[in-house]
Amino acid sequence: MATFVSPPASTTATKPAGSNPAVIGKEKVDYFNLPCPIPHDEIHREAMMSLKPELFEGLRFDFTKGLNQKFALSHSVLMGPTELPSQSSDTIKFPTAHYEFGANYLDPKLMLIGRIMTDGRLNARVKYDLSENLSLKATAQLTNEPHMSNVIANFDYKGKDYRSQFQLGNGALFGASYIQSVTPHLSLGGEVFWAGQHRKSGIGYAARYNNDKMVATGQVASTGLVVLSYVQKVHEKVSLASEFMYNHMSRDVTASFGYDYILRHCRLRGKIDSNGCVGALLEERLNMGLNFILSAEIDHQKKDYKFGFGLTVGE
């Protein structure tokens, strides 16, 4: 296992060639034609779908207008209480209202997304395919507060049965990850990172097993974080997910369970975790291009109740 994760930065094809003959004798699976694995930073994708729905509080209204095939403008209004980050256990909220203007340019080769808020925050995302296998992804968050802006650029290289990524960010952040398909269902990966500003470095290992009925993933990092997740597809439109997270440094353990129902006119996601937090998100399609969203989150431990509703027009 360790041989697969040790060269996260090496993007050459020498690694799969060297590792494959070792396993080829055991089974009749064609180990030279393994499927390309999922990117390393997305290995929990299915579990996140039902366990981390985009819950919000207050009102939100999103409007997207496509000007032509590739270019679209978006407007959104957000109103509701915002939590102030504080050290004390009780939450402090104050009412806020924001308008957000955005522009999207979507092309098969180039994707540009920009968002600007009335409080001066700017988000930008770029995805550009430099060649067939190499692509560049960059995200930037700029604020008018000092030391809160950050920029991260990712170079992704997609091989035949492996993917590797090199990450560069401000604050001297360097990261690299590599994931390799070992069998048609199992893939193993690893990552290293170094944050120069905070003088922190770490190494992590990940494994993912998926077939058409279930997905199981595990991730261990030297920061003390252990994440295990399991997603079972009960039906083609129903999936159940569970996740176990353990942080060795802060010694906290969280287990959560969620469901994801895709019905004909709506999508419903719900989750409950061991911290006494319950959440649900309902996206109801009222008409073509008109969605109604209801969000609910109850934190029994903190006695924090968040409810929100919204409309999405366009898309």
Partner: protein, 114 residues
């Protein structure tokens, strides 16, 4: 006699003082002794304590049960009630589609496109 009885009725120490001398006072002394011996008996004392404890525990139990019921109820309201409503709606749509298909003979793809 009557005056002493009244006096005995009014103030306890007077009755206690007269109980040693007068007949009616002696009868009252027996009664009070019996009641006091009953009220000070370990059985009654224990009973009282048990009743007190039981009431306390019952109150705590009722409170925690209520809290648990509240948490369970609100969780149910958030997680399960929307699911039931939406699944019911979906089932209704499917039924309606089937009915339309059987009545009009239209292909189900036409009705689902609405």
């Amino acid at each position: 006699m009557s005056s002493s009885r009244i006096a005995g009725g009014v103030s306890l120490p007077d009755r206690g003082a007269s109980s040693s001398s007068s007949k009616s006072g002696a009868r009252g002394g027996v009664l009070s002794r019996v009641t006091s011996s009953i009220s000070q008996s370990p059985v009654v004392y224990q009973g009282k304590r048990v009743a007190c404890d039981a009431a306390f525990v019952a109150k705590k139990l009722l409170k925690s049960t209520g809290k648990a019921a509240w948490i369970a109820g609100t969780t149910f309201l958030v997680l399960v009630v929307p699911l039931i409503i939406e699944m019911d709606r979906d089932a209704q749509f499917t039924e309606l589609e089937l009915q339309q298909a059987s009545l009009l003979g239209t292909p189900p793809s036409a009705s689902s496109g609405q």
